[in-house]
Each structure stands twice: as C-alpha cells, then as structure tokens.
Symmetry: C2
Subunit: 427 residues, 2 copies
C-alpha cells in the first residue's frame, strides 16, 4: 500500500504525541544494567512491555546445544544462565501485507571505570536534547522505538496487517548467538529492521568480526633474577605489533572487497583488554590479551584465522622463550561474517521514502566498520535486514548518549515503514 | 662464650634429633595461605607455637598511624585488618649474653595460575629431599628454623642467657611495615638474624626497592573508530620501554655504589602486573601497570623518584594524547632504602664460625639484588642485621621449594650462633 499523505501525517503526529512516553520507556530501559550475564531483568521488563501491548510473548533461555551446529554460531566460554531472548508477536486477523521482524539487542557493553563518567552510567539523564547512559544509544533507544512505532499506530486505531515480531535479543555485543537463536526457534519474515544507532543512515554493508584471546606464558622467577625469566607481559608486545602489521596488510587489500574499496581504514584491530602477572616483585609468568579484528564481507573466517595464527606464530618465533612456548590462541566470541544488504531493494526503497518524508532528504547508505545482527537474517535466512537508527555518541565509551530529536524522527520513519510494509488493519 | 666442641656437637645432634618435627612444623606453616590480607590465621598458629615453648607472646595489629611518620615507612593502599605481628620473647633469669632478634616474615607472594603448579601451592609435599610449596623457601623454613633452634637447646636442658625475641612479621613482601612496627613497639637487641633463603650465604649488602603504579588513561571510542581514540593499553608500551632505559642508565652507574660495582646488572626493573580495558570491542580507556625497581644503597629515594617521574613524563610527551593526559604515578608499596651490613663484625665472625663448623667451609657473603627486612634494624635502630638461610628455588615462581638438607645445616648453624651469642643457662 501507499500511505496517503493525511495518514502519514497522522502517524508522524502520533509518534510525537507518544514521544514523552517513549523517552520515559527508553530511560527505564537504560536503568537496567544489562551487561553480559545480567540481561535477564531487563528482558523481564521488555516481556511485560510487549505483553501490555497485546503481543504474544515468547521468552526462552538460549540453549547452546540447539544452535552450535548452525552457520553463524560463535563460540562462547561463559554461562547462559541469564541469557533469555524475548519475542513479542503480533498476528493479524488476516495477513495481507508483508511480514516484518523488528530486532534490537538488550545487552550493553561494560561501563569501564565509573570515575570516567560524568554521571552514573545506569542513571539516565537528559541534557540539551540528549539522553545519557550506557546502552541508551546502543541500542535501547532503538528497541524502545520499535514499541513506540506500534504504539503510534495503535493510538490511531491501527495495527499491522501482517505478522510482526519484535525481538529483544542478548549477545549482540559478543557473539550474535541471541539473534541466531531466534532463527533456530523459527522466526522468519519478509524483512527485518534493526534500529541500531546509525546517525539516521542505512547500513549497506557491514564487516565481519573475529574475537580471539592470546595467552602468553613466561618463566616465573624472583625479580632479583629478572633477566633469567621471560616476562610474559612484555613478551606480548611484539605479538601485538605483529598483529597490527596484519591489520595494515588487510587494509591494503580493500580494493578487492567492495564496497570497502572507498572506505578509509575499514579493518580495525583492537587490543581491548589485557591482564597479566600477580605481584610487582614477581616476574609475570602469564599475560592474556583480547583482540577484536574486522574482516571483509566475503573474506573467509577460516582463512582469516589461519593468517592470524601464522602472524602470532611467526612473531613468537622471534622470541627465544616464546619459540619453545608458543602462545595459545582461544576464539572466545565473534566469528561473524561480513554482510552486504541485497535482495531487499523494495524494503530499502520504502524505508528511503519514509525517511525522506520525515527528514526531507534522501536516505544515506554507509558501509560500516562494525558488525550487527543483520548478518543472521541476510546470510542464513534469506531475509533482507535493514539497519537504520538514530544519532548517538560515544557508544562503548563514557557518557554514551543518544540524540532525542533524531530518535523522534527515526521512530516516525520506522512507524511509516511498518505501516507501509505490513499494511494496516483497524484494531 | 666459646662453645666447647662437645657442646657444639651436642647442639648439632639435637637439631638432627628434632629435624622430623621441624620439617613437620614447616609443612604445617606452608599450609596457611598467608598471602597479603590473609596472614592472620598463620600468625595465630605461630603465636600458639611460641606460647607452647614458654615464650611470652605479643600479638598486635599493625597501626598505620603509629608508624607512618617513621623513617623506612612505605605507603600502603590496602587494609591492615588481618595484618598482625607476633613476637615471642624469652627473658632469662639474669641476662648475661648479648640479646638477639630472630626475625622471619609470614607473608608469601601470590601463587599465580594454579595450573602452572605441579601440585597445589599450599599442599606441601616432600620429594627428593626438597619441600615444595608457596612460602616454603621464602621464608617459612627459616621461621620454623628459629623455633627449631631454641627447641634444640631446650632438648639439652638449655635456654638462651640473654633476651631473645622471635618475630613473625607481615608485609615483608610489599612494604616492610611489619618489621617497622616491631621497632615502633620497642623491640631492640644487640643483633638481628633473618633466615631468608640465601643459599647458605650471608647478605653483606642489599639493594633498595621502589614500587609504583602507572595509570594511563585513553580516549574511549567504539572500535569501529579505533584510530580516533587512544588505546590506553598500547599507550603504556613506550612508557615501559622508557623505564627500561632508566634501568640501564642506573646499571651503568654501579661503579659509584660499592659493593655493587662488581655485580652484573644489579638494578632490575620489573613490570609485574598489568591490567587494562573491559571489552574486546571497546578501545581501552585505561591501563594500569605495576613496577618494581631496585635502587643502590646510598641512592636517595626522593632523587630516584624524580628520575622515574621525569622518565615517564618525557615518554608521555612523545605521545600526542598522553602529552595532554599525563599518566598518573602512584607509590603503592616499597619505599625501601638499600642497606650494607656494618658494625656487626663480631656477630658476623661468630656466624662464620658456626657456619664453618657445620658446613666445613667459610661463610660466603653476597650483595643481593633483592631487599629484606634487615634494613630496618640496621638503618633505623643501629642493630646489625644478618641475613643467612637455606637453599631455595623458584621463590616467587611456581613449584617453589626449599632443600631440606640445607635447612638442617642452617638450623644447626643458627642454633650454634644463638648459643654462642646469647650464652646459655640451664632451664
């Protein structure tokens, strides 16, 4: 269907009418410290919010054994005791339009040292039109926006005329196994929309991501004989340097991986965590560091791993001690392929129209140097997955914030998209 | 007094007669996991052992406020809730000989990853004449040896004819504030003997030690913009490199600091611990690392600190981000001066005679590249402090062990020394 301009305006106004409520819901979500291993209480809250809206709620704990054989699965070394997915489903009286999955993740990354925050990360505050708090941008504003979108339609007496599933998933920030578990449970649709904080743009392509941990062992001795042992912390440095060499080598290959040939430095390798040693006066016998590196869409994970392993092996060979005690490499998270959105031009055109209606300009597309759960829908279920969402700052950093005006407009565009993609029926 | 050879032989035989018991006591001590903050239960055990031997036991919690003004105090950033010193004192009917402090520390360094131990660190085992376990060498064998020394005399119906204080102190491995607190409490003697594991040698000189922590802060961003932020972990590397430059500069100055002019590489700088970042996919905004560095006897602590601080400041200046966000330096442990044993030649000669009697060879002297609590007695109380003890391996490492035959002989030498230094009276 094509929305007539009167209905489109009504939908946009209805988003505005509900916006205070939407912001309050977003702030409420930010209060849950839904870092890895502690997502369950936030998910309970989401389940209630979905139920209040008349959606059928499906809540289940992720079962690793049920998904570990599936393509896209990432290895996991933690317990999933509190890893619950929540899906709220609307099924119309008679499905006329195209079905849709709205997907958002509830998990947030760690907050880091509290003293680097201006105000506490899980105490949301609004200042100068921005909502501050860990997860506000990435991506509780988007998740709340999904609910606000159907609220806006309901306020006008409408609901989607096609199946609509609102998915609140865990594990987006480390494996994607939450989104994968939704596939395993059977959720499918004609398109998926993920309102990640994309500065009001659409992701056309996303990189893949690998996580690995390098474990270096040294020879422990009393510091008075420091030079007799191998300092495991310092033995890690040349390995890290070699990994940056690999990063640069991969960046020079970008011409082979469209659309990344025009992106400056698409491959980022990050040493995100390090820990080693136990005592200032003991030569450290161990050091572990965590690495995140991007791969191109189309770059094979197995081949990338071989290059990583060879790089570490060669760097270790140059160190007398490490040559005989090679570092251990453990894959402990993301084994994510890259994804280029295709076979979704109808949905893209429709989202572009909605965006233009709200923002008054064309929808920009980007090739992002990050990953999202979109890959699961696109690569493993043939569902075109559109990632489009508001303007946020400092996600994964301190004083993370999301711009409320942008949230309002993206929600308007999303509501228009739902109405047009799914069609509408009277409540 | 000069022991006649009959009595000397009797004392040595008496040590042998009690040796199984001594080994059992040592193993019992090793079972206590008396790492920092958990020394109290081991100290209770020591207090009981002293009391059983008829010594007057003084047990007190270290009061930082009572010692912080004293020379030799080291700053401390942890609680002293469980930091109890224990002293057992023998006071003869009439003091004829020279008084003596036998000092040992009950604290042990952390064990590190358990999987690097052949058997659990606090489950002592004996194999091929060595006792294995954390703290066995450093220095529970020596501490048990102090008790075994007076046991050997008691078995012959003797006790020292002078005041004898057996001190079991905490904090040797990080500050020395335990030994300092013994001075504050008033314990004094004509000499002190510390049976640290010294491979049957006497320490003639020991270096000083400084501990400091360097805290680096970065600019946190999402890894997809990795190059926009400053990776605090990697920003630490050039600072560490610069500190090694300072280490080498100090080593080249050794000709000015006898007796270290002939010691190869007396100054060791150790990066003993590192921690940074929270998440593989977040650019780390913080990194802290702990450093231990030696200083020469006579090298001033304040001047050494100034050099350290200038080194870090200059290294930070070379980094665009760190230049404006200089690392923080925190002194969080040892501020220990070096010490050269002097004014103790009578005691040294006597220990040398005892050693020759047992080992059949001259007592070797070393300038060690580590520190001990001896400095407190020597520098701040005018008490010559002799450090002499058994052969141990891998102290501060894995599978720490102490050689039992060496323990037996050092205990014989120590018992002879007590008898000759203090004199003997009949029980």
């Amino acid at each position: 269907m094509m929305l007539n301009s009167e209905l489109a305006t009504a939908i946009m106004n209805s988003v505005d009418a509900g916006f205070d409520e939407q912001v309050a819901l977003t702030a409420e979500l930010v209060k849950f410290p839904s870092v890895r291993g502690a997502e369950h209480t936030a998910q309970d809250f989401v389940a209630s919010a979905l139920r209040e809206r008349g959606l059928a709620v499906d809540r289940w704990r992720i079962d690793i054994d049920a998904i570990r054989h599936m393509p896209g699965f990432s290895p996991v070394h933690v317990e999933y005791d509190n890893a619950f997915n929540v899906v709220g489903s609307h099924r119309p009286r008679s499905a006329k339009g195209r079905s849709l999955i709205l997907n958002g993740h509830i998990d947030v990354v760690p907050v880091g040292p509290l003293d680097m925050w201006t105000t506490p990360p899980f105490a949301p505050r609004i200042e100068d039109g921005w909502l501050y708090g860990r997860g506000g941008g990435d991506m509780k504003a988007g998740l709340a926006g999904c609910l606000a979108g159907i609220d806006a339609l309901a306020r006008l007496g409408y609901r989607p005329a096609a199946d609509l599933h609102i998915q609140s998933v865990v594990e987006e920030e480390c494996t994607g196994n939450g989104a994968l578990a939704c596939l395993e449970r059977g959720y499918r649709a004609d398109a998926a929309l993920i309102p990640e904080p994309m500065w009001n743009q659409l992701i056309r392509a996303q990189v893949g991501v690998l996580w690995f941990q390098v474990r270096v062992r040294g020879v422990p001795v009393h510091v008075r004989e420091a030079r007799a042992g191998a300092n495991a912390i310092e033995a890690a440095f040349p390995i890290i340097e070699a990994l940056h060499g690999l990063e640069e080598a991969w960046n020079t290959r970008r011409e082979h991986y469209p659309p990344y040939e025009t992106v400056e430095h698409p491959i980022n390798l990050n040493i995100g965590r390090i820990e080693g040693g136990d005592w200032p006066s003991s030569v450290p016998a161990w050091c572990v560091f965590d690495v995140r590196v991007a791969i191109y869409p189309g770059q094979e994970i197995a081949a990338a791993k071989r290059e990583i392993e060879a790089t570490i092996r060669d760097a270790a060979r140059a160190n007398r001690f490490l040559a005989n005690n090679p570092p251990e490499i453990v894959y402990h998270g993301f084994e994510a392929e890259g994804y280029v959105l295709k076979d979704g031009e109808e949905a893209v055109a429709l989202l572009g129209r909605a965006h233009r209606q709200v923002f008054g300009e064309a929808l920009a597309e980007i090739a992002t140097t990050g990953t999202t759960d979109a890959r699961f829908f696109g690569l493993y279920a043939g569902i075109p997955a559109l990632v489009y969402g508001p303007n946020a700052d400092s996600i994964h950093g301190f004083d993370e914030r999301v711009e409320l005006e942008s949230v309002r407009r993206c929600t308007q565009a999303m509501a228009l998209f739902i109405a047009e993609w799914c069609g509408l029926e009277k409540v």
